[in-house]
């Protein structure tokens, strides 16, 4: 786990415009989330259900500063986790794009440790396409969030969503192809 308070400090620094803080923040938050997620997935029928609850709450409190919150179920927790990750990244991409357009120094999203190669523009386009997908198929959009923003495996997603691995895999592949096609179409239009 990261040190208590570290995330909060970085969050406020980032909100105050410190881009370095973001680069430090994301891997910490992500590592925490993954660890919690892994424990969460394995906790049922196990003696450490309680500790897991505490962990989940702790992480959530750290991420949001919200004090009163209970989880309806696992899907709820991961849904919120995915939202948090998505919002953090999209906010960052927006700032990066604005800075670029304003003639400032471009901030590379992939500069931080652990980021895969996606440009801020692509991330924003993905975010928009994902929102459109959510209008016709909220479930598929959720699968993409869990896979892409939280990094759950297909099997884990199936567990969280109480669906079969086969179904999730199929929906994931279809949604992924559609999103790729959307982004490709957009690029072509802009070129």
């Amino acid at each position: 786990m990261s040190r208590p308070g570290e995330v909060t400090t970085l969050l406020s620094a980032w909100r105050g415009g410190d881009q370095d803080a973001f680069e430090k923040l994301i891997p910490i938050v992500y590592a925490d989330l993954r660890r919690i997620a892994a424990r969460y997935m394995r906790s049922e029928n196990e003696g450490h259900t309680l500790q897991t609850t505490a962990l989940v709450h702790e992480a959530y409190l750290r991420l949001t500063g919200e004090r009163e919150r209970t989880w309806e179920n696992r899907a709820h927790f991961f849904g919120v986790a995915a939202q948090i990750m998505r919002n953090l990244l999209v906010d960052h991409a927006r700032k990066a794009v604005t800075t670029k357009r304003g003639g400032g120094i471009a901030v590379q999203l992939d500069a931080g440790a652990g980021m895969t190669e996606i440009s801020p523009e692509d991330l924003l386009a993905l975010n928009e396409a994902l929102a459109r997908l959510a209008e016709v198929d909220p479930r598929a959009s959720r699968i993409v969030e869990l896979r892409y923003f939280v990094g759950l495996t297909i099997e884990e997603i199936a567990e969280v969503m109480d669906a079969s691995v086969r179904t999730v895999n199929r929906e994931w592949k279809t949604a992924k192809t559609w999103l790729r096609a959307e982004l490709r179409g957009r690029k072509r239009a802009m070129a």
Partner: protein, 646 residues
């Protein structure tokens, strides 16, 4: 589909749910066809709907293109980030004109493992890239063909399937890379799991052991010796609710093919190829050799004596490695792994594993299935013993005699005697008269009471939701000394924890204590007069310490002195606490008493290790766990003792 912008952009706009669900259905079906057949498939399926067909063709076309977008999570795992070496092949690289690399997974002794798309199978595979260093033959494939042919025959749910072998020619250096494609399994290795979660209890390890045994048996039945069984070669597809359930054996048969019962194999059998991992200058290299010719195969820690001598490996060689693996799973330290003790496992398992670790292969179980059967039936015998112990629990002396055999009495719960291990409930404490057990139902989280003689279970609390959909419930239940009440920790769904008291009839529940945020009170003991409750203030930050709760007014006093952080229980007369502590001068573990005034005195100062387990129900005998050089016998130098107070 919906109105489109120019150049096919913005396709999603205006698409209805119905249209999308048709797209999804047909395209999902199309994905199950080979890439070359997809277009024909969607043309047929959507021939009567031009808009739908347009959208489907767009997706089919997209699926044929290369794209990195969404190919892996936006943030990669920290482990991959900190790795100094970069993987040899980058995403999108195509190897042997067939495998397109999707991502790097891990680096092992034999090479690197990637997730890849197999153009021929049209599916994702795990691809192991093994770099040959000055190998004996130019064409690695011919050397491996026989192994692969054998390995491909094994299709078993507990075995990672091997698909194919290929060779990737590298233009510049001329060193070919051997590729092994195998089933892609989402999960983690047993090594990673243990690193993250620590050792398993024998109960949670058993399903994993059974899975490995089934897989290994299937491999043996196909005439293959694994030759390198170790936690890193066991994948776990972990599902919630099952600690670590679905074990799958991988990397089998890469070291040896089965020689007949240790006899030198004939020449054709000896064509089998083995790897040996040797480290020079910190670099992991792979050399090739022939089975039966010199020290080969396996990982040093898991090498059976006969393997180390270079003799032929047999099924018994794998059984040896399997026993080591079981020890590692259960937390046996490396130094003791060749001679495990009951400290880390049920007593009957000790001899079973030791037998498998015999240097004489003939003394071991010859089949993995036999080993697991022995482990299982040892537990069944033991649970019978345990039931007998329950019925007799009323008599302190009998309980004590039985306790010498029940090694699951855990120190960690101080005087909590774990007496059953039913999968749906956790039963801990016996009532003073031995008639009941109190515990937590893992179905609902409720406090449950089991009548020992009839076996009937009664729910005392009534949560409205299951433990899965909502957290919380009753934990660490204790009986009051008069046997009329149960005191328990009640974790509410909102993450507030309280100490409650309830009658055995489920009536008169009341709150004794509300814990501050972040504190998990774990109940340890009730004073003999029932007036005080000793509990551990387990906090998130790890600042645990014992405190005493007064039942009458709910006041809490932290325990002071040495007993605060120790494994403590109330003294038999309720005056002060008993705890065990290590004497720095003699290194012996002593049982000491700390009076309310803070004065300490030694009650038991025998040499060796004396740890408090708890009082017998009538509080006339103190049960200790003792380990000393004097004690010998089946328990491997440790055992339970009782100390009768004067």
């Amino acid at each position: 589909m919906a109105p489109r912008g120019t150049e096919g952009t913005e396709t999603g706009d205006g698409m209805t749910r119905e249209q999308w669900s048709r797209v999804k259905e047909i395209f999902g079906d199309a994905l199950e066809h080979a890439p070359s057949e997809r277009e024909a498939f969607v043309r047929h399926a959507a021939h009567d709907d031009p808009a739908l067909l347009d959208e489907l063709l767009r997706l089919v076309k997209e699926s044929e293109r290369e794209s990195d977008l969404l190919s892996r999570p936006v943030l990669t795992d920290a482990r991959a980030v900190t790795r100094e070496e970069t993987p040899r092949f980058a995403p999108s690289a195509v190897l042997a004109r067939r495998f397109r690399i999707i991502r790097f997974i891990a680096r092992g002794g034999m090479g690197e493992v990637y997730e890849a798309e197999d153009g021929e199978l049209g599916d994702r595979v795990a691809l192991k890239a093994i770099r040959q260093r000055a190998g004996p033959a130019a064409d690695l494939r011919s050397l491996f063909r026989r192994e692969i042919q054998l390995a491909r025959r094994v299709t078993h749910p507990n075995v990672c399937r091997i698909f194919d072998i290929a060779q990737h020619e590298t233009g510049t250096t001329g060193e070919p890379v051997l590729l092994l494609s195998m089933e892609l399994i989402e999960g983690e290795t047993l090594t990673e799991y243990l690193k993250r979660n620590g050792p398993l209890t024998h109960a949670s390890a058993l399903p994993v052991i059974e899975g490995i045994a089934a897989g290994l048996q299937a491999v043996h039945d196909a005439g293959i010796i694994h030759g390198d069984l170790k936690p890193g070669n066991v994948m776990l597809a972990v599902r919630p609710g099952e600690t670590a359930s679905h074990a799958r054996v991988m990397d089998f048969g890469m070291a040896f093919s089965a020689a007949q019962s240790g006899e030198p194999a004939d020449t054709s059998d000896r064509e089998a190829v083995a790897f040996s991992d040797s480290s020079d200058a910190g670099e992991s290299t792979v050399t090739l050799g022939f089975a039966g010719q010199g020290p080969i195969g396996g990982t040093p820690d898991y090498l059976a004596p006969e393997q180390a001598k270079g003799a032929g490996a047999t099924a018994a060689t794998d059984v040896y490695a399997f026993a080591l693996l079981i020890g590692e799973m259960l937390g046996v330290p490396r130094a003791q792994r060749l001679a495990p003790t009951a400290e880390h496992m049920p007593t009957p398992w000790v001899n079973i594993l030791r037998r498998c670790l015999s240097s004489d292969p003939a003394r071991r179980y010859s089949r993995p299935a036999d080993l697991v059967q022995a482990l299982r039936s040892a537990l069944e015998r033991r649970s019978k013993l345990r039931r007998i112990a329950l019925v007799a629990a009323a008599s302190a002396l009998t309980l004590l005699l039985a306790a010498r055999r029940i090694d699951t009495i855990l120190r960690s719960t101080a005087n909590g005697l774990i007496l059953t291990e039913s999968p749906s409930e956790e039963m801990r404490r016996p009532s003073p008269d031995g008639k009941y057990l109190a515990g937590t139902s893992w179905d609902t989280g409720d406090l449950i009471l089991r009548d020992v003689s009839s076996g009937k279970v009664r729910r005392l609390t009534h949560k409205t939701t299951s433990i899965e959909s909502q957290f919380g419930g009753a934990f660490s239940a204790l009986f009051s000394p008069d046997g009329r009440h149960i005191i328990f920790m009640w974790a509410k769904d909102s993450d507030e924890n309280e100490i409650h008291m309830i009658g055995l009839d489920g009536k008169g529940e009341r709150t004794l204590y509300r814990a501050p945020d972040g504190e998990w009170p774990i109940l340890v003991d009730c004073s003999p007069d029932g007036g005080r409750i000793l509990f551990n203030r387990d906090r998130d930050e790890g600042t645990a310490g014992l405190a005493i709760l007064a039942v009458a007014d709910g006041s809490v006093q932290p325990v002071q002195g040495s007993a605060r952080q120790a494994q403590s229980i109330f003294a038999a007369d309720g005056r002060g606490l008993l705890f065990d502590t290590e004497n720095p001068r003699t290194n012996a573990w002593e049982i000491r008493r700390q009076l309310p005034s803070g004065t300490e005195s030694t009650l038991i100062g025998l040499p060796g290790s004396n740890r408090v387990i708890g009082w017998s129900p009538d509080r006339r005998r103190l049960i200790l766990f003792e380990r000393s050089a004097r004690t010998t016998g089946n328990l491997g130098g440790s055992g339970f003792r009782s100390w009768r107070r004067a």
